[in-house]
Amino acid sequence: MRAHGVSRAWEKAAPYILLAPFIFHITAFFGYAFARTFYFSFTEYNLFASPRWVGLQNYVDLVRNVQFGRALRNSLQFAVIVTLAQTCLALILAVVMNSRVRGIRFFRAAYYMPSVTSSVVITLIFMWLFQRGGVINYLTTKFIEYRAPIGVFIACLVVIQVLLVLRDRAGGWPASWFEPAFLLMSAVFSFVLVLALQAARIIGPNPNVEIVRTVWLNTRQTVPGWAGSLAVPRPLAAIMMLNTWTTAPTMMLLFLAGLQDIPRELYEAAAVDGAAPAAAFRHITLPGLRNVTYLVLSMGLISTLQMFDQVAIVGEQAPRESVITLAYFIYSNAFPGSAVPRIGAASAAAIVLAVFTMVLVSLQKRITRS
C-alpha cells in the first residue's frame, strides 16, 4: 500500500471522474439551457441585439396570441386522445400477442416495423395515403360501395353464432358467446352465403356510389361534427391516427413484458374457481399491469406533448393553425424564417410546455395510482 493518501484521494474522486462527462453534458445542455430559457422568457431577444428585460410581458402576450391558443388546444387534444388510443390499442395487441401460438416472433416483428422507421418516412407515406385521390379515400369509397354485402355478412355472422351457441348450451355445454370455433364456422358460412346472394344478384355493390373525396390535410374543418367546440381539426385527426399507429407497437412490447410477469398460476386458480375470462382480466390482468400502465401513460403523454416532426413535415400542405402544436409554436417563433427571431415569446411558450408536461404527468400518476 504505497502512496496510501494519494490512492485514497483518487478513490474519493473516482465517482466524479466517472461522472465528469455526463455532468458536463447535463449541466451545459440541460441545466444551463433550462435556466436560460427561463431567463429568456422574461426578455425581448432577437439573437442580434442583447436580451432586454421585459418582465412578464411575453406571458401576457401569449395569452392574447390567437396562434398560441390554438397550439395549446391542439397539443392538449393531441396528447389526451393519442395517449388513450395508443394505450388501448397496445393493450389489445399485447393480449392477443400473449397467446401461446407458433410464429409469434414473426408477428411481433411485423407489428414493430412502423415504430422502427423514422417519423419522417412514416409521415411522408401517410401524407401520400391521405391525398385527396389517395388510398384512404379509395378504401372508404369501396367500403361504402360494398356496404350492403358487408352488412349482410355481419348480420349473418351474428345470427349463426347465436344459434350455434344456444344449441350448445341447450345440450348442456357451457359455450361462451365468443366461442372461437363457432365464430370461424359462422364466418365461413356467412361468407359463402354472401357470395351466393351476390351471384344470384340479390345483393351487390352499389353502382351509383359517389367517390369519397375527403380533404384530409388542406382543410380547416373539424371532426366529428357533433362535438362542437371539442372537435378536432381534421388534419390533426389524421396525424393522431398516424401517431397511434406508430407508437402503439412500442407500448405493446411494454404491456407484453408486463403480461409475461404475471404468474400463470393466478389465471389457473381463477379458472378452477370458475371465473369468467372477463372477470380474470379485470381482477388479475389489470391490477398486474398497473405499473406498466403508469409507465406507458407517462411515456405517451411526454412524447405526444412534444409532437413536432409531423407538423414540420406536413408543412404547408395543411393550414398551419389546424396542426400547430406547442412544440412547433416554440420553434416557429425562435426561427420564424421570414422575420427576425422572437426568442422571448418562444421561451415563454417553452416554459408553458414544460409546466404542462409536469402537471399532466403528475395528474396521470394520481389517477392511475388510485
Partner: protein, 420 residues
C-alpha cells in the same frame, strides 16, 4: 474483458480523430468570398456564372457558392446572427424588410457611387425600389418574376374558343373559360390556388394597396373586396378549381396534367412544364384588366444580391456582386431561358422576339412588371404573418365554408390584431 477494453479504446480513438478532423478546416491563400443562395437550379446557374463571368476577372479572390437546399431564410438569419454568415447572399423581397431593419445587411450606396460597372439607372426602377429601405439601397436585384395567364392552346382549339389575349377583362375572360370548360368534359377552366400570391393582383387592379396612409391594411374596403369576390367567385361558379381538389399541389401541376385550361403562374412554370409535359402546347398572356378601372394588377417576385454588414472582405464581395450582375452575365442567363434579369436594356434582346413558346411566355412575364398597378411581393416586417389570415379565409370561402362577408371581417380582425 481485455477485448472489451481494447474495443472501447479503439472506438474512443476513432471518435477523437474524427472530431479533430472535423474541427480543422483548410485555409487557402486567396481571399475567399462566400456566396449563399438557393439550391436546385440556382446552384447550377450561379456556379456557371462564377466559372464563366466572375472568376476569370478576379485576381487573388476566390468566389465560392454555398447552396442551401431547404429553409434558406432561416439558415440566413441564423448564420448572420452567429457571425458565420456568407459575404454575399440572396435576399428574397418577401422577407427582406425584417432583415434590412436588423442591421445585418450592408447598405450599398457608397459602393455603387464609386462603381464603374454598376449604375442605379441601369436597373429596372421598380425592382431597385423594392430593395430600397429607409432611402438606402440594400440589394441589387438579380432577376425577377411576375404572374401571367398561361393557357392550353389545344383545349381552346378543341372547344373552338378564341385564346385569351391582352384585351380581355375579368368578364370576357370568365366567359371564355366557361366556354372551354363546357366544351371539354372533365376539364376545369382555371386553377386557383387559395393564396394571396395569386389573388393579390386582382385586388391591385381594383386599386387596393397593402398599407394605407396610416400604415394599416383595409381588407373590408370595396377595393380589396372587388378582387377577392372576383377570385373566389370564379371558384364558386365552378370555373375555377383549387389545385388540391384535383390532387395537385399547385396550379402548374394541374396545368401540366391537363386538368385545367389555364393557370396563373410566373416564368418558374416553364422549366417545370419542360420536364413534366414537354409537348404541352401552351401560350401566355397578361393578366386580365379590371372592367371598372381598366387596369391590370401584378406582383413582382424578386431576389437581390446583398452584402453581409459583418463581412471581412467587403470590397472583394462588391467586386463579385458587380460581375454577377454584369450585362454579359445577365444576357447569358436570359438567353439560356433561365431567369428574367434586372437590367432594363435587355428588353430589346432578340431572344424575346423568337417564335419559341418559352421565349414568348418569358416576354409576357417580363412585360408584366411595368403594366398597371404592380407591387413587390412584400408586407413590410410582417412577412408571412400578413398573408396568413388572407390565405386562410381564401381557402375557407373557396371551399364554401365561409361567406365573403364573414371571411373578410375575420381577416380584418386578425390583421388589426397583428398591426396593433
Amino acid at each position: 474483458m481485455k477485448r472489451v477494453k481494447r474495443v472501447v479504446t479503439l472506438l474512443t480513438a476513432i471518435v477523437l480523430t474524427l472530431a479533430v478532423a472535423m474541427c480543422t478546416g483548410a485555409a487557402g491563400a486567396d481571399v475567399q468570398v462566400r456566396i449563399a443562395g438557393f439550391g436546385g437550379v440556382d446552384l447550377a446557374i450561379v456556379e456557371e456564372l462564377i466559372a464563366k463571368f466572375v472568376q476569370p476577372k478576379l485576381k487573388g479572390v476566390k468566389a465560392v457558392y454555398e447552396p442551401i437546399a431547404d429553409g434558406y431564410d432561416r439558415w440566413l438569419v441564423n448564420s448572420l446572427s452567429a457571425g458565420t454568415g456568407p459575404d454575399l447572399f440572396y435576399v428574397d423581397i418577401f422577407w427582406s424588410r425584417g432583415l434590412f431593419s436588423s442591421g445585418a445587411v450592408e447598405p450599398l450606396d457608397s459602393y455603387i457611387a464609386k462603381s464603374k460597372m454598376l449604375k442605379t439607372t441601369d436597373i429596372t426602377t421598380s425592382l431597385l425600389n423594392a430593395f430600397t429601405y429607409n432611402g438606402k439601397v440594400y440589394g441589387i436585384p438579380k432577376d425577377f418574376n411576375t404572374l401571367a395567364l398561361f393557357y392550353n392552346r389545344d383545349m381552346f382549339d378543341v372547344a373552338k374558343v378564341p385564346y385569351p389575349d391582352e384585351s380581355d377583362d375579368w368578364n370576357t375572360l370568365t366567359d371564355k373559360l366557361r366556354k372551354v370548360q363546357a366544351g371539354l368534359p372533365g376539364v376545369y377552366g382555371i386553377a386557383l390556388a387559395p393564396e394571396y400570391a395569386r389573388m393579390g393582383p386582382f385586388a391591385y387592379a381594383a386599386g387596393f394597396s397593402v398599407f394605407d396612409a396610416k400604415g394599416k391594411s383595409n381588407v373590408i374596403g370595396s377595393q380589396f373586396r372587388e378582387g377577392f369576390e372576383f377570385y373566389t367567385g370564379l371558384a364558386k361558379k365552378g370555373v375555377g378549381i383549387m389545385p388540391a381538389d384535383i390532387g395537385q399541389g399547385w396550379g402548374g401541376g394541374a396545368f401540366a396534367a391537363e386538368k385545367v385550361a389555364a393557370c396563373l403562374e410566373g416564368a418558374w412554370i416553364i422549366g417545370f412544364l419542360r420536364d413534366q409535359s414537354p409537348n404541352l402546347n401552351y401560350g401566355a398572356t397578361l393578366l386580365p384588366k379590371n372592367p371598372r378601372t381598366g387596369q391590370r394588377g401584378n406582383l413582382i417576385f424578386t431576389v437581390s444580391w446583398s452584402m453581409n454588414a459583418q463581412s471581412k472582405h467587403k470590397q472583394e464581395a462588391f467586386q463579385v456582386l458587380e460581375l454577377l450582375t454584369s450585362p454579359e452575365a445577365q444576357q447569358w442567363v436570359l438567353e439560356r431561358g433561365l431567369a428574367l434579369p434586372s437590367r432594363q436594356a435587355l428588353i430589346d434582346n432578340p431572344y424575346f422576339k423568337s417564335a419559341d413558346k418559352e421565349a414568348a411566355a418569358n416576354y409576357i412575364v417580363f412585360r408584366g412588371a411595368s403594366d398597371g398597378n404592380v407591387f413587390p411581393f412584400e408586407f413590410a416586417a410582417y412577412g408571412d404573418d400578413w398573408m396568413t389570415p388572407i390565405n386562410q379565409v381564401l381557402s375557407a370561402v373557396m371551399s364554401g365554408e365561409q361567406t365573403v362577408d364573414v371571411a373578410l371581417k375575420e381577416a380584418q380582425k386578425r390583421l388589426d390584431e397583428l398591426m396593433k
